[in-house]
Structure formats: structure tokens, C-alpha cells
Amino acid sequence: MTNNAVIAGIGHTDFGKLPERTAFGLQAEAARRAIEDAGLIPGDVDGLITDPGPAQGILDGITPHYLALGQYLGLDPAYVGSDILGGTSSVAIIQRAMLAIEAGLCSVCLCVYGDSALSTPGSYSYGRGDDAAFGLFGAVGMHALAAQRHRHKWGTRPEQLAEVALAARAHAAQTPHAQNKRPLTLDGYMAAKYIVEPLRAPDCCLMSDGAAAVVVTAADRTADLRQPPTRILGHGQASSLSTWASPDHFDTLPAARCGPQALARAGLTPDGIDLVMLYDCFTIVVLMQLEDYGFCKKGEAGAFVEGGRIGPSGSLPVNTSGGLLAEGYGGGMMHVIEAIRQLRGTADKRQIKDAETALISGHGLGMNTHATLVLGKSG
């Protein structure tokens, strides 16, 4: 056996504006659904790792998020933690759960993302330290700087960014729980106003209230599980903390380092991946990842996505539930859940036939962090 941690359960809430719900209430619902899906009970949980999302920040200045959630859930686990890697966190906490289980620190680890970002004004429009003096606010500014570089270096056109946004909406149209199922046309994209030029409103992901959770368990206890366990075939993490002091910070993502690592651990190449779930806070990041993971050559992602290639009937569907751009902001955990639904064969109208392998990415902060998971069908 090459891997002895598996993903046994998935659960999530609705996504959208849910002002009557608290972030903790949403997280608790996702946790309950994930444990039920796994066929386990709360008393089985001996690990808790959380991705708190930005709206909750550091709770009261001293209380770590896992402590507050663990107290509400009445847990006394063996292994705990919260990871703060921005949008990378959901994938990162699953990796940490896998490592903890494989090291014998725990055997049933609950991994929870949840936030009430849509009902918490300003949670994503923060100033970036002293650079706020120059008007650098929100994650969108950093990603627009990268988009401008891509346009300059590779001639990437707005119509090519639009392909990513249109594909996300088309996927979301087949996803019952998606937050934005409204169709988007190229004309509609081109007419949309800029937020931070060259990025328009449809280039930017949704904000959502919602939560999602998975249960990672040791493979040797899968006999009592309700669902076929999803195998973890490969994993990797890389960061660029020196930010723009790093020579190629806006041109190449850390994915270029951890992607090949995760694929090599799985014994796969990009050609061997059936399902591609890429963190899509902004359309430009999908293009950059297609290049940096090796699905196409550097600089060619714009042309690569043309003609609906990553949409529902394309040759490489990306983010089959609509992703952060249209399904809702699920922190990256919903990318994992969609991959697992596809690998289980329970993705209904969205089902990709004979899907056996999935690559899922997490990407975070000012393009500083990245993590990759490669998952495999049970058996």
C-alpha cells in the first residue's frame, strides 16, 4: 500500500447570502453532513483542522479558530490546528490531516472550511499594509498586476479571459447548489465594468456565506464507512513569500514547483489527469495554472482555452461545478468535494465519464501560497 490516508466523507451547506446564519453554524452543519456521509459519528473524530476564512480573522485576538469550533462541537481530539494560507488553506489542511493520520497522530480527522464573507462587509477589501497608501486594496489588485503582465508578455486577450468566466457559468448551470447560474455571453462579459483594469467584474470570484468539510481517515478503518473511500495519490506545496522581490513573482505561480511534485508522487503526468479543479479566485489564475501545471505551454493558455475547451462539452473541463467564479466561494474545499463526487460517480448531469484521477489546487494571498492534491477513485 502506497497511501494509508483516504477521504471518507464530504459535506457542505448552501452557498450565497445567508445573513441569518453564523460562520460557526455553517461550519457545524458542514461537519455534521461530512460525518454522516462517511457513516461515522461525532465521537469518532480525533482530529480537527480548520480553514477559518478571512472574515473571521483571529477571533478575539487570542482564540485560535479550531479551539472555538472544537468547543462548539464538543470535541476533545488528539490532533488540532488551523492553517492560514489564504485560498490554499483548504487543500493544505487536507494534506496536514493526511500527514497526521499517516504518522499515527489521529485516525479520523475533520477538515472544515467556513465563512460568512458575504454578510461581513469589507472582509476581502482590505488594504495591503503600507501599500494601501497607493490604493492597493483587495486581492484583485495583485491579480490584475499579473493579468497585465500576461497580456504584455503573451498577448493574452480579454476574450480569452472571458472563456474562463463563461465556462464557469456554463458548468454552474448544471450545479443545483450553485450561487450564480445566470448565463454569461461574450458580449455580456465585454460589456461588464472593470473592477481593477484589466480585470472586469466577471473575472472576479463570488463572495459567499457557506461552509464545506471533508473527513480524512486511515485506510485500515474503511470497512465501516458508508462511501467508497477516495484515495490520496499525490500532494505538494510551494510558496513565494518574498512576493515581488522574487524575479518571476507575477509571471509564474508556485504551482510550477509543487505541481510536478504532486504528479510525480502519483506517478502521473498532466495527460493522465481526468478531472481538473483549479482554484479560480480570478480568471487569470486559471490561465496561469494551466501553464504552470503543464496542461499547455507557458504563454499559450489564452489560445488553449478558446472554443470552450474548459467548458462542459470541451476536451478538458475545468471546475465542473462552476468553481469560485460561479458555484460560490467555498475556500477551495468545494473543489475537493466536486472532485470526490466525480470520482464516486455521483455528479449527476455534470458527471465526467470514467473519471479516475483528479488534480485539485489551492492558491492564496498575494499569489504567495500554493498546494496541489491528486486524488484517485476508490479501489
Binding site: G135, A144, W244
Partner: protein, 143 residues
């Protein structure tokens, strides 16, 4: 962290790591940090040289010339004191370090990556900020 609820200008909050940079700006001098041990030049300031981790650092004036590494045009206002539209750019200084700033005295449609720029200083609420404007590099020797 600056929040959007304040209507006063979101000025830099100098720390012991960044004070030398911002103090020099108040005298209209653009500086970078220089490592006494390996010669590395960098921004922003920190406790040690990010290349060799030496703590022997000095503040060093630079030419104020550079090029536009990338730029964006904010069309949405995030802070009431900084109304859109405005241009945010990452400037690559001639000496190497990069910094976030604004491009002024130039129509946004005329800005291109790699365009030569030079520093000038403007006050916001009495605090001097370094901003950049286009210049003709052929006139470099005339100051």
C-alpha cells in the same frame, strides 16, 4: 491593516523596519536598504538582509529612476480618500528593488509595461509619498 471605514487618508504606519525609508521620503529622497555584508539592495525594510540574513543594514539613496514592471487601473473605489480611477503600479527601480506606487501626470491609456519613470513626491494629509511619472531617458544626464 487599514480599513475602508475610515475617511482619513490611509497613510503608511512606519515601523522600526521601515522608518528610514519613510523619513527620507519626507525630505523628498527615495532610498532603499543596503546590506553591509553582501551588498544586496532591497525594499521594504526588515530585521535582516533577505539574501544573507545579516543585520548590518544601511539606508541608501537611489536615482529615483526605474521602469513600469506592471500596472493596473482601479475603476472601483475601495477607500473614500482614494477615489477611482487611479493607477497602481509595481515599479522596478534602476538599482533593482521593486515597490508599489502610483503613476501620475500620464493618461492611463498611455502607460505601458517597461516605460521609463522617475520619482516625484506628493503630500497626503501632510505625509510625503513617492509617486512616479513618465520621463524621457534621453534626458537622463540632465538630471
Amino acid at each position: 491593516m487599514n480599513t475602508n471605514s475610515q475617511s482619513t487618508y490611509p497613510l503608511p504606519q512606519p515601523t522600526s523596519f521601515t522608518k528610514a525609508f519613510w523619513d527620507a521620503c519626507q525630505d523628498k529622497v527615495l532610498t532603499v536598504y543596503a546590506c553591509n555584508d553582501c551588498g544586496h539592495l532591497f525594499l521594504p525594510g526588515g530585521p535582516v538582509c533577505p539574501q544573507c540574513w545579516s543585520s548590518g543594514l544601511v539606508s541608501q539613496p537611489v536615482s529615483g529612476r526605474g521602469t513600469v514592471y506592471s500596472f493596473v487601473i482601479y475603476q472601483r473605489t475601495y477607500h473614500p480618500a482614494i477615489p477611482a480611477p487611479y493607477v497602481v503600479a509595481l515599479i522596478a527601480l534602476e538599482e533593482g528593488p521593486r515597490l508599489i506606487s502610483n503613476i501620475i501626470n500620464c493618461a492611463s491609456g498611455n502607460i505601458v509595461i517597461d516605460m521609463p519613470v522617475r520619482v516625484m513626491f506628493e503630500t497626503e494629509d501632510g505625509f510625503m509619498l513617492p509617486r512616479f511619472e513618465p520621463f524621457n531617458p534621453d534626458q537622463r544626464n540632465e538630471g
